[in-house]
Symmetry: C2
Subunit: 329 residues, 2 copies
Amino acid sequence: MQQPYLMYLGDVPDQLGAKTAKGIVDWRPEWCLGQLKLEGCKADLGIDNITIAEAAQKGAKTMVIGIVNSGGFLPKHWIADIIEAMKSGLDVASGLHIRLSSIPEVKEAAEKYGRSLFDVRHPTQDLPTGKGTPRSGKRLLAVGTDCSVGKMYTTLAIEKEMLKRGMKADFRATGQTGIFIAGSGISIDAVVADFISGAVEILSPENEEDHWDIIEGQGSLFHPSFAGVSMGLLHGAQADALVLCHEPTRTHMRGLPHQPLPGFKECMDMNLQAAQLTNKNAKFVGISINTSGLSIEEGDALLKKIEDEYGLPTVDAFRTGVAPIVDNL
Amino acid sequence: MQQPYLMYLGDVPDQLGAKTAKGIVDWRPEWCLGQLKLEGCKADLGIDNITIAEAAQKGAKTMVIGIVNSGGFLPKHWIADIIEAMKSGLDVASGLHIRLSSIPEVKEAAEKYGRSLFDVRHPTQDLPTGKGTPRSGKRLLAVGTDCSVGKMYTTLAIEKEMLKRGMKADFRATGQTGIFIAGSGISIDAVVADFISGAVEILSPENEEDHWDIIEGQGSLFHPSFAGVSMGLLHGAQADALVLCHEPTRTHMRGLPHQPLPGFKECMDMNLQAAQLTNKNAKFVGISINTSGLSIEEGDALLKKIEDEYGLPTVDAFRTGVAPIVDNL
């Protein structure tokens, strides 16, 4: 995908529906030229409202539909805008479940105007099976006690901190929001099961010895819906460094009220055992806690308690930053 | 898929290419009316050679292309036979990578003659994500130290032994050969990663309390290519009973010369930990060793040694039968 982006919000009914778009603006504000909202849109990214024509004139290369809606379909009344964007010289990228290319008018317009369509949820390249053959370069992977506990945020913050220090680092995206932020990546949970670890090997290939791939994790080994994805990620990543992510107000595994959360030790032990199958030197280098649901005092106390108990740098990636984790590499 | 089958071998160049077909004949001889070989075919199933017309006349319902070839394509000169079979009233089922319905002449003929096409490698139903909600009925799952160590053979033998004893049991197929043998199933390694455990929940749904689903395993938690599939299987199965399968002449993980095999204890511990996430009562009930690469004396000695060391009924499913494992349930 080429940058900069025009952010298309359509008429999503709430801010949550624009979560992907908001993540892109948070992490790549310099890529986001403006937002386009239809009447009734209840989300706002806090950036300029611009038209497709203005975006094209300002040099936008891709119109991003960074929207989550239930069902993942594309509202019919957005199609005219998508075609208009391509007519104006923009590619179109979508995070919806439905493929843009499965909509005949959209596909025809892409051919007519010579533009590209990107469906970031759907891996398009041919993938190999994983091999587990040791490869050069360093890799860090975020793992979680649960889904949605800050793995993307933590890995993006680590990449940013490393680049600030002049280290060689690349964030490697494994989910749709991350892919828009990185400009590339593979939506690992959409890969055919046989190719999970192979996809991660392709995503974070061999590199210079002092280069770090910072791999966004997905799911949790302890989530009964998605643990296969997490397991393949661990094996494919050949991570040297693992960071455990956690959200302390969670009372059960996301979406499964009957499913308790794992303990930290149990969670770290199992992740480490899996990681060491393909990299014997894998170890935990830090813990990242999303304390936004706690008061500052409670949050600070929790970080200190966990740091003392596990002897690892423990941060809130948003509030305290991830410098202590990078120091520990 | 409807039985009985006409087994189509085309002109495969060796017996290994007909491995799937051979498995079907071994386990469901009563379903296999005959085989159809083209000139140059080097495989043989040891059953009658018959024509499509004879098969139709004998009541065959499905022509099975139980062939493995490198690339998974369909040789062009087989297409006429496939169309002929449908014209004669048979459905056609294939274990090749290529979808029958992706071949225009074949698809047209299916519509023209009102026949069904089955591509057993490709799940067709919409799958849910796994939930891990406890469900009724009993389930047994085979797990392995590696891929291709006898999981299908062991589970089929356990189903057979249970049915012989008048127990309620169903073999649940998770791979292509198993699907032909069961007449239904889901090729788990071809499912999209997000739905691995959900597919297994659908495959082995709630049932009577004294009914056993005997679930064919896939891969190994210790195989860097396929462990995600094995992990999702463990979580989706909610197995009460696990059987460890092993092939004692294996010197490294299949296809990966650099990757050592896990020890039994390590392998059982990790499988048990994963299984207990969705069924706290999961336990190992037996060990199944494929001793075909050893002499009878060596094989017997090995079974005894393992049985003594781990305190679990240890069998060769082919040579000694699986009765001691069923006794232990």
